[in-house]
């Protein structure tokens, strides 16, 4: 996937036919706070876009707006050219957008199998196949509350996969995990792209993790996009270096 594909979308114009997701000049205000300031980005089919930035830069807010948890104050979110801004999460889940959470939110009193049975079934894979895919095979009847933090993240991912997302938003999957667990999860994400043709936006602080999964990155700072391009170019971009290292 060419690094240039994640570029700022022309504001107000229809996205190119290849774009699965286009975020067009989205601003989100929380009272006087401008959490997102005219953020635009585009993700092509089968592409994995890394979303990086310091704490408070607006990464999770972007995910929340795309996934319908928050309505944008202005601007639009387009899925295959259709405006889906502010639609309820359950409608977006049924239209092919789903997400995971930085702190996983499985249903604690339900088993892993029941956690998946709750969900709208849009995937061509069975629940058992999805649990196997994320590495939870054999733990179907465990209560979610009895799973380890790493397994709860896998369950969160599995529940999103059951709905058959074309666009998967992954919010800091790697936080708090060991190197081995990170590598396993990166492998799972790569399989989702290679075998299911999934498109992803991955919010992550860990550059090593992004190197394994992302085709390109968009860097946010104080709610605004300051860079879009390849990961290695981002690491040598003066504006990005200034934000992360200072000076």
């Amino acid at each position: 996937m060419p690094a240039e594909s994640a570029s700022a979308a022309p504001i107000g114009e229809a996205p190119p036919a290849s774009a699965l997701l286009a975020v067009a000049a989205v601003t989100k205000l929380f009272g006087p706070l401008r959490a997102l300031d005219e953020v635009s980005l585009r993700v092509d089919r089968g592409e994995v876009l890394g979303l990086v930035g310091p704490n408070g830069s607006g990464k999770t807010t972007v995910i929340n707006v795309i996934s319908g948890l928050l309505a944008p104050t202005s601007g639009r979110v387009l899925l295959e050219g259709q405006d889906v801004s502010g639609k309820a999460p359950f409608r977006l889940a049924r239209r092919g957008i789903n997400r995971t959470f930085q702190i996983p939110k499985p249903f604690p009193a339900l088993t892993a199998r029941e956690n998946l049975a709750v969900a709208f079934h849009g995937s061509r894979l069975t629940d058992a196949e999805i649990l196997e895919l994320v590495g939870l095979g054999g733990r179907e009847e465990r209560l979610a509350s009895e799973l380890t933090a790493s397994d709860q993240k896998r369950l969160d991912l599995a529940r999103a996969l059951v709905t058959g997302p074309r666009l998967l938003l992954v919010d800091e999957l790697g936080a708090g995990l060991s190197k081995t667990e990170l590598d396993e999860l990166a492998g799972i994400l790569r399989r989702l792209v290679a075998e299911l043709g999934m498109t992803m936006v991955v919010v992550e602080h860990l550059m090593g993790f992004l190197e394994q999964v992302a085709d390109s990155v968009t860097v946010l700072n104080a709610g605004a996009v300051i860079f879009s391009g390849g990961l290695s170019e981002a690491l040598s971009d003066p504006a990005v270096v200034k934000v992360f290292i200072g000076g």
């Binding site: 996934s67 948890l69 309820a88 999460p89 359950f90 889940a93 049924r94 789903n98 997400r99 959470f101 939110k105 499985p106 249903f107 604690p108 009193a109 339900l110 029941e114 956690n115 049975a117 709750v118 969900a119 709208f120 849009g122 529940r159 999103a160 059951v162 709905t163």
Partner: protein
């Protein structure tokens, strides 16, 4: 072990589990129904038996709305009163038979629940207080003298022309069976699973593709239907009543405490809670209400402090411990 053999034994185990579950479901519906049907042979006080069945149905209604969604309806009596007055209006003004009128009482409660759907936007104490206010408003509306031509206002409703102690008793048995069926089906259904998910985390449930508003509304209407049917058959059984009798907030409180005492989220917990506590109430509450209020208060405190899952949680916990001990010993 060859794969085929393992697969066959696994399938047999799954099939056995499925049959065991179905058997438990059928028993959960049939056992209380049959016991109530036979109860008249040991206790000839049919009004007492109908009242207990009414509380069983109300406790199951609370189970549906609180056990599955987390909404605690202090104004639940509003649906009960709507059911009672819906039955009265159907008999007095539409000339309906008592059974049809009881069903219409249930429908009337559902209509009230539809009007009150916006209350579901509230949570916690706000919802509890708003539902109580709605029930009081409905009570005031029904007892308004200017509605005398419809509800007979504050002067009470008279259903003596259709009075039948046996008819109301058997109808109550059928309504108990229906309430048990509703809870069993809900517990096993995808809607029940979705409601439990919504109760745990509505954001996660929404991302799982669950229409949170629709799921909650479904539970709300179902619980209103149960209360309306209970109100209808109670009105039929007592024959004459005033608005204060069927909109008494104590009815809400009893139903909630009975359900919590037995264990919400379970099938049989509210039945056990209603039968045990109502018999206690009947034994001492009628003649010495102050003692019952004391016991009732203690029960509420004990539930809140030590038994948040009710009697059912205690029994299920003991069973789990025994199973674990058995597995360890094995």
């Amino acid at each position: 072990m060859p794969e085929g053999v393992a697969g066959a034994s696994g399938q047999r185990a799954t099939r056995a589990q499925t049959w065991r579950r179905r058997g438990a479901d059928v028993a959960a519906v049939l056992v209380p129904t049959v016991l109530f049907a036979l109860a008249r042979t040991v206790d000839s006080n049919l009004l007492l038996l109908v009242t207990i069945m009414v509380y069983v149905v109300l406790a199951q209604g609370v189970n549906v709305i609180y056990g599955f969604t987390g909404y605690l309806p202090f104004g639940y009596v509003g649906f009960f009163g709507a059911g009672a007055y819906g039955t009265y209006i159907a008999v007095a003004h539409l000339g309906a038979g008592a059974v049809e009128a009881t069903v219409l009482g249930g429908v009337c409660a559902v209509l009230v629940a539809i009007v009150l759907i916006p209350l579901l936007r509230l949570r916690g104490a706000y919802f509890a207080i708003a539902s109580l206010a709605a029930a009081l408003a409905l009570s005031s509306l029904v007892s308004n003298p200017s509605l005398q031509s419809v509800t007979n206002g504050p002067y009470g409703a008279d259903l003596s022309q259709v009075f039948s102690s046996g008819g109301s008793y058997w109808t109550a048995v059928v309504i108990v069976a229906f309430a048990m069926l509703v809870v069993v089906v809900l517990r096993r259904s995808r809607l029940g699973l979705q409601l439990r998910a919504v109760r745990a985390d509505q954001v996660s449930a929404s991302y799982a593709g669950v229409n949170v508003v629709a799921a909650r509304t479904g539970a709300w209407l179902l619980s209103a239907l149960l209360a309306g049917l209970a109100g209808g058959v109670y009105a039929w059984a007592i024959s004459t009543f005033y608005p204060t009798a069927v909109f008494d907030t104590t009815i809400s409180l009893f139903a909630i405490v009975f359900a919590l005492f037995g264990g919400v989220g379970t099938v049989l917990g509210p039945v056990v809670g209603a039968v045990v506590l109502y018999y206690v109430y009947n034994a001492i509450g009628v003649n010495d209400p102050q003692y019952f209020q004391l016991i009732f208060g203690v029960v509420i405190v004990v539930i809140a402090l030590f038994l948040p899952g009710g009697l059912a949680a205690v029994l299920l916990g003991a069973r789990r411990r025994l199973a674990t001990r058995g597995a360890d010993a094995g």
